[in-house]
């Protein structure tokens, strides 16, 4: 947010530069698709949501004032399109399982109490990864486990961690994109990161 600034991606899109569009698609598609899946839960519908978001973005390029980055604006459109689609789908499906009750906003401990002694200090501390080569920790199989761990999160946590840690938005942008308070954003992020770390610990032990 702030004063309009020069954005070379924006200028290239306005000029109809297909290579620039393709490069933006390659940069943002996975994050956009995963975020869309958080709302609609069906791959085909999620692809539609991404495409509709791009088209909405392209069609309103001339009205875009550049007060946020193109990326923030694009993801804002995606959130709106995906939420509208979810409302439409939930009229067709009698029960929506996507937004089932969850503990995303709770401040319950994120680490199992049995891992601490009665003094509150670790009794079963985290298993160190120092002896695992970084190429393994960052390898394809680990990535797959992290993906599954994110997919298993409640939607409210998933949308936050996707925007903050996968898409790389600043925390303030995440809370404003989702319309939640910064404190609430951090509570959800904390639960989500703790769950992903826990899944990694189980895989890498």
């Amino acid at each position: 947010m702030g004063e309009p600034r020069f954005d070379s991606d924006l200028e290239a899109l306005r000029a109809g530069d297909e290579a620039a569009f393709q490069s933006l698609v390659q940069r943002y598609h996975t994050s956009m698709f995963k975020l869309a899946m958080t709302y609609v839960g069906d791959r085909g519908v999620a692809e539609d949501v991404v495409q509709e978001s791009w088209l909405t973005c392209l069609r309103s390029l001339d009205r875009f004032e550049g007060r946020s980055s193109l990326k923030t604006w694009l993801f804002g459109i995606l959130v709106n399109v995906a939420r509208a689609r979810r409302r439409k789908e939930s009229r067709i499906l009698p029960f929506s399982s996507f937004w089932r009750r969850d503990d995303s906003d709770s401040r319950r401990p994120t680490v199992d109490g049995s891992r601490f002694g009665s003094d509150g200090m670790w009794s079963v501390g985290p298993h160190s990864w120092d002896n695992i080569p970084e190429s393994n920790v960052l390898g394809a199989e680990t990535l797959q486990h992290v993906k599954s761990a994110i997919d298993a999160l409640p939607a409210k946590q998933r949308e936050v961690i996707l925007l903050r840690d996968v898409a790389g938005f600043e925390a303030t942008e995440v809370s404003s994109l989702l319309g939640i308070s910064p404190a609430n954003e951090r509570v959800r992020l904390h639960r989500a990161r703790a769950a992903v770390r826990q899944a990694l610990e189980e895989y890498l032990r």
Partner: protein
């Protein structure tokens, strides 16, 4: 601070949301605690791995459709 308390402050710490006083107490604990040091390092590593997820290639069919949509938008301008 106990380890049990410190682990629940890790995100606030990483996000720069702790008060100066809490940050100092947090860092003091971490400095003397291998378990919490490892936990914090693991959260940082988890973030690093998640950042790589965005680099997954776009499925070819999906990219083709998006490029076609782009061209049809461009032709109507």
């Amino acid at each position: 601070m106990t380890c049990r308390q410190v682990v629940e402050l890790m995100t606030d710490y990483l996000e720069g949301a702790l008060s100066a006083v809490d940050r100092a107490r947090f860092e003091q604990h971490i400095a003397g605690c291998d378990g919490c040091t490892a936990y914090l390092a693991q959260l940082r590593m988890a973030r690093k791995i998640m950042g790589k997820l965005a680099d997954e290639p776009v499925p070819a069919g999906v990219e083709k459709e998006l490029l076609e949509a782009f061209r049809s938008w461009r032709s109507t301008r």
